[in-house]
């Protein structure tokens, strides 16, 4: 390790600028600075969420306490959950990924730096919007899961739930954008030689996680939008009084909510998969199985959501299906835990603070996983769900799991980010205080749940042992809060006077350690050759490099590598990003379509689609839209033939056809509204206007994009024969048309069929 003299508090400097004042940071497009800003933002929210928790635990310390009333308490538990999930754990892991992944794959920066900044600032904006609710009539108080109809009017008339919806929509969009960014970075920007089977496990798990986010977040966004329309436009998606279904909200929410908990833990698994091998001084045991099990977990996580609904009364078959699926997901998770244990075994373990948190993770997450499996034995769930047993379980996996892993990652990568080591002495104090405080707080909550204490209660009667157990838990919570202060002290003290770190203080093996700490703006002066999973090990041990990966049962290891100097995947950046975006928007539309189908197929009185819809007129609109795809395609052909004038003309025609479609749609809406078919009248209106309305918004966005292309074409900016911008917009426009064909068939043709 080289000793470098560093000025105090060295954080990566922005390019071409001295020092890096606040303005430089705020306007930065550098993934490293954005990553650090993610960590600062999410840590600040962590403290706020922690204070909310301490207030709750104070109220619960004794039975029949009067420290907080029910209104305040209910806002606190809603905000605590929402904050920790959406403003802390998920974005903190994304922030770490934003910093680390480009370095781990040997790239210069993340794929789309401006979109990266957008994701960060949407997080900040969304979080502030959510918290503004405290000042604007009350924070949301219907729980972080906002079950309908409680979250609907007339049961919740304050605006808290609306701020919750809008804040989460903002952060949700930022999260989707960040995931697209990470996927494209990992697929398209890897250093030569870094095949997919040689990816560092943190990067691999971030990749899988990002795909999972693209599947799950649009489900949340669609649900939020539907709830907002219910609340603000008096629609009926989820209110039984209007014919809607409260259970549909639960299905929709948990179809997001369950993958979400895996989204909060997969990158944590990635951190552990980096830390344990490095501090055991041996490569991970069973790389292929750890990697493959990640895919299995992500896939299965989409099939288990209704294990949150065992008490709803969905019927024996549904309950059994989800029980089996949930049991199955324990298998790949167990595979990981055992492989991490096997990595420790036979190693030469160094008990750095990072490693202590990783080993703590292993034990605590196992406990949380075991209690999780206990829920899959459905009658047990019928007793313990909605009690403090669940609260204990979730905190064992989210705090003992994800938060411990985050701390392990922070101790591991802080030297890379700042050029200084965190104090190991303070780190050990931090670990032990956290470990004791955490277990003191949450272990006893298992017992409280088994003793019958429900959750989300602002107080409780003086039943035997309840007071005592709650007091123990509260004491633990205060200890846990104190431990965070110890960590903060460590960070500030180390920034000022920590030992200089050098390039590779841990003697680790992945590419981020092959550059100075902190890295220069362009990340690498020279990327080392990548011939295996541990490039720096291979460099340091040319006599005994890692064995070539045997591949996973013959797959992957023997696939021919990329051409020398070429990228591993020949997909142009904008195209891959646009495909990811289309994929996630498709899922958003699927949700709106599902709502339409669900209500249309249920027997109902009220508006009959066949009578009020004019399929002929809508058919003409459809022709306009399909024609616009054809004209845009012809525009692309003109570009290939370098006929700029023709391109401009085709773009103009496309825009006109698209506008004709929107005008036709608007006229249809007007006709319907005049006939008293509105979004609030009944479920046909609710689902019809939502689905066609969002499609229309997508068309409008497309028109803006096309108008920009038109302007650029008029200014002769397209030299041909290709243009990434035109290709990306074309993909989007064709997608929007394809969605319309689906909607037309579903709504109009189905109505014709009667």
């Amino acid at each position: 390790m080289r000793e470098i003299a560093l000025p105090p508090g060295a954080l990566p400097a922005p390019p071409d600028r001295d020092g890096g004042g606040l303005y430089a940071w705020i306007t930065s497009l550098d993934h490293k600075q954005i990553g650090i800003m993610y960590l600062i933002t999410t840590f600040a929210f962590f403290i706020v969420g922690g204070v909310e928790a301490l207030l709750m635990r104070t109220q619960l310390a004794v039975p029949n306490n009067t420290f907080l009333g029910p209104e305040a308490y209910n806002q606190l538990f809603t905000m605590h959950g929402t904050t920790m999930i959406f403003l802390v754990v998920m974005p903190m892991l994304i922030g770490l990924a934003t910093y680390v992944v480009p370095l781990q794959v040997g790239a210069r920066d993340i794929a789309y730096p401006r979109m990266n900044a957008l994701s960060l600032w949407l997080l900040v904006f969304g979080g502030l919007l959510l918290y503004f609710s405290y000042l604007a009539g009350g924070a949301p108080d219907a729980g972080w899961f906002s079950y309908a109809p409680l979250s609907e009017k007339p049961y919740t008339t304050t605006t808290g739930v609306d701020y919750w919806i809008l804040g989460l929509l903002a952060t949700g969009i930022g999260t989707i954008a960040a995931s697209i960014n990470l996927i494209v970075t990992i697929l398209a920007l890897r250093a030569p030689g870094m095949r997919m089977t040689r990816l560092p496990l943190f990067t691999w798990m971030v990749l899988v996680n990002s795909v999972l986010i693209l599947c799950a977040l649009p489900v949340l966004n669609a649900s939020l939008v539907m709830l907002l329309i219910d609340r603000q436009l008096n629609a009926h998606f989820f209110s039984p009084q209007g014919g809607g279904s409260a259970i549909l909200w639960q299905h929709f929410f948990w179809a997001f909510g369950h993958p979400e908990v895996y989204i909060m833990v997969l990158p944590a698994f990635g951190i552990i998969s980096e830390v344990i091998p490095v501090f055991s001084r041996k490569a991970i045991y069973g790389y292929e199985f750890v990697a493959a099990s990640t895919g299995a977990i992500a896939f299965l996580s989409l099939a288990v959501w209704a294990h949150h609904m065992f008490a709803v009364g969905l019927g024996r078959t549904a309950d059994l299906f989800f029980a089996v699926a949930s049991m199955l997901i324990a298998i790949p998770t167990g595979v990981k835990v055992l492989n991490w244990c096997a990595t420790l075994w036979g190693g030469a373990i160094r008990f750095t603070s990072s490693m202590l948190f990783a080993m703590g993770f292993l034990a605590m997450f196992t406990i949380g996983g075991i209690t999780g499996v206990s829920f899959t034995a459905v009658p047990i769930d019928w007793q313990v769900e909605d009690t403090y047993y669940v609260v204990a379980h979730m905190h064992y996996v989210l705090f003992g799991g994800s938060a411990f892993a985050v701390f392990a990652g922070l101790y591991y990568w802080f030297p890379k980010m700042t050029g200084r080591m965190l104090s190991e002495a303070w780190g050990k104090w931090h670990f032990w205080l956290t470990f004791v405080g955490f277990n003191l707080t949450f272990m006893i909550q298992h017992v409280l749940g088994l003793a019958g204490m429900p959750r989300r209660v602002f107080t409780y009667p003086d039943l035997p042992d309840w007071g005592r157990f709650n007091m123990i838990s509260t004491a633990g919570a205060y200890l846990l809060g104190f431990s965070v202060l110890v960590f903060l002290w460590n960070v500030f003290a180390s920034l000022r006077a920590g030992r200089p770190a050098g390039d590779n203080p841990w003697n680790a093996w992945t590419l981020e350690w092959a550059t100075p700490s902190p890295p220069p703006e362009h990340n690498f002066d020279l990327v080392p050759p990548v011939r295996g999973r541990r490039p720096l090990w291979d460099l340091a041990h040319p006599d005994r490099p890692d064995p070539a990966p045997a591949g996973f049962y013959g797959l992957g290891g023997h696939v021919p590598g990329p051409p020398p100097g070429g990228k591993a995947l020949d997909v142009s950046g904008p195209r891959l990003g646009m495909l990811c975006f289309i994929g996630t928007e498709a899922i958003f539309f699927v949700m709106l379509i599902l709502a339409y189908v669900y209500y249309h197929s249920a027997a109902h009185t009220g508006v009959v689609a066949a009578r009020v819809l004019d399929s002929g007129r809508a058919g003409i609109n459809t022709v306009f839209l399909i024609a616009s795809s054809a004209t845009l395609w012809l525009g692309g052909k003109s570009l290939e033939q370098r006929r700029g004038g023709a391109l401009t003309a085709w773009l103009a025609v496309t825009i006109i056809l698209g506008a004709l479609f929107l005008i036709g749609q608007g006229r249809e809406w007007l006709t319907l509204v005049r006939a008293n078919v509105t979004v609030s009248r009944d479920l046909f209106g609710t689902t019809f206007f939502t689905l066609t309305g969002f499609h229309g918004l997508h068309v409008l966005l497309g028109l803006f994009l096309l108008a920009m292309l038109f302007g650029l074409a008029v200014a002769r900016r397209f030299k041909g024969p290709t243009s990434a911008a035109i290709e990306a917009v074309a993909l989007y426009w064709h997608f929007v048309d394809a969605v319309w064909i689906g909607i037309y068939s579903l709504i109009y043709l189905w109505a014709l069929a009667g």
Binding site: V312, N339, G452, P454, F458, T459
Partner: protein, 303 residues
């Protein structure tokens, strides 16, 4: 007072669940012991010693992976089988049997009706010990959840989606329960109790519930009765908006388990319900102390 589901199961269903839980707990503890054991032994045996270089890489064997995937699957199968049989024991099909009880969840009280017996009460369920009752669950507003830990499973009460649950107690006794789905500001004080009685006591209770309460005799109670009607109490209490009060005086608690049913507590409630249970749907009628006293006198006659 029996409240712990696994310490004191008091019905065949709760006992079956408790047994399943003990089984899963033992298995889970064993798994944790193995993992914790590996961590602790590795921490001691494989700690880095000064001068020690990096150990030889051991990147794993597919054989071991298959073994422990198999072991995990086997363990889960071992849990799955008793899960299915316990589900059948706890939740046998209702087979078109008419419900003995209809419980309707309201924000934040329980409406309890016995359709076959023509009885309506609130916040308390009386039933004969060792007889299995079928309880039909529904909601008048938001989602609630019916849960008596010592006796029965949780079951959501979702508006628009009625459900059924079995209720039985082995022994006479008082069994506490609570709403277990967050239902708004006073979710914490939507508690319920089940009073299981010997057959004769249950018959006597039934008898009393079906009789109209005897007319008030003391002067205070007579005035109280007319106040009850003048102050529009009957507009809510008797139409399903608020709990039925016809036999209020015989109940153990007030305000869904918030306080014991004593004249002093009743007076406190009537004086200012919002101070006792903020957010509850009973407004403050700004009754004078004198009026409160007379209303209490009247209500105490409603046995």
């Amino acid at each position: 007072m029996p409240i712990s589901p696994f310490g004191n199961p008091a019905s065949p269903q709760a006992a079956a669940t408790a047994q399943l839980f003990r089984f899963v707990l033992v298995l889970g503890a064993a798994v944790f012991a193995v993992v914790a054991g590996i961590i602790i032994v590795a921490a001691i045996r494989f700690r880095h010693r000064p001068g020690q270089g990096d150990p030889a890489p051991d990147t794993g064997r597919p054989g071991i992976e298959v073994v422990w995937v198999g072991a995990a699957a086997l363990l889960l199968l071992v849990i799955f089988i008793p899960t299915v049989s316990t589900m059948r024991a706890v939740d046998p099909p209702a087979d078109r049997r008419l419900p003995d009880l209809v419980v309707t969840g309201h924000q934040w009280w329980w409406e309890v009706g016995y359709p076959g017996l023509g009885i309506v009460t609130a916040n308390e369920i009386h039933l004969p010990a060792r007889r299995m009752f079928l309880v039909h669950l529904q909601s008048a507003d938001v989602i609630h959840d019916f849960w008596i830990p010592s006796l029965t499973r949780k079951m959501d009460m979702t508006p628009g989606h009625a459900t059924d649950v079995w209720l039985e107690a082995d022994q006479p006794g008082v069994y506490l329960g609570a709403c277990a789905e967050f239902c708004g500001v006073q979710h914490a004080w939507m508690r319920i109790r089940v009073i299981a009685e010997p057959e004769e006591a249950f018959a006597a209770w039934q008898q009393q519930q079906r009789q109209a309460p005897s007319p008030p005799r003391t002067p205070d109670a007579v005035v109280g009765a007319s106040l009850y009607h003048e102050d529009t109490c009957a507009n809510c209490h008797g139409t399903g908006i608020g709990p039925d009060l016809n036999h209020l005086a015989g109940r153990d608690t007030l305000a869904a388990g918030l306080m014991p049913n004593t004249p002093a507590d009743l007076a406190r409630w009537l004086k200012d319900p919002q101070a006792v249970k903020p957010g509850s749907l009973m407004p403050n009628f700004h009754l004078s102390d004198a009026d409160v006293q007379k209303l209490v006198a009247y209500l105490e006659t409603l046995r």
